[in-house]
Symmetry: C2
Subunit: 128 residues, 2 copies
């Protein structure tokens, strides 16, 4: 895929997440997807996202920076949301927090095949 | 700059860091550089890096993934090193730890003008 196509696909993927349109998720995520070194597969990926929205009812992904080449996308995503209880080992307990994620995706056949995600937990900790 | 030029410049920048060739750093870093939202300038940037090498004598930057467009570079950097004492608020105290950084750079006039860096501190914590 061209860089532009991959950037467009990625934006559609983010819309899919923000709309919690799980029926469409398989269009974007490879069956054998690996997330942070664990091969969770597309069903595990969906479970992870559904759990995120259960834990954080007002979760929205706001792409701030997007860089694409022919096979990879990197993005910086901003979050401004209210985790209900514990989140990433921190007792957020219904407080509104702002933080970022720097994440890199490898695409294969137009679908996400591998994800390397790091969330800025120190930023959350500083707000508690 | 083209994507290829920017990727090449970035690789030269990483070689400069690994060689602790501070006299060359200004070739790569903009005078007004902003790091994680703080305008530290090129001298503050150099101080930060020199401090990192003081705190972690065996520090080396290993680029695992590199994505470039015309104005930005994103990379995933692997570290396998031995911080002498406290590092990112964690009591590492001379243990060898492996962790990654996902980092995005904005370039202006061929030099790094802004950096958004997130280090996987949870990975370090899990090794202590």
């Amino acid at each position: 895929m061209s860089r532009t196509d991959l950037a467009d696909t990625y934006r559609d993927y983010i819309s899919c997440l923000n709309g919690q349109d799980w029926a469409k998720l398989d269009r974007f995520v490879h069956t054998d997807v690996i997330h942070n070194g664990r091969q969770i597969g597309s069903s595990g990926y969906r479970d992870m996202l559904e759990r995120d929205f259960d834990d954080i009812p007002d979760l929205q992904f706001n792409v701030q920076i997007l860089i694409a080449d022919a096979s990879h996308v990197a993005s910086r995503i901003a979050f401004n949301c209210t985790p209900k209880e514990r989140f990433l080992g921190l007792d957020v307990n219904g407080r509104k927090v702002s933080f970022s994620e720097n994440v890199i995706y490898e695409f294969r056949g137009g679908k996400i095949s591998q994800v390397w995600s790091i969330i800025d937990t120190a930023a959350i900790e500083a707000q508690l």
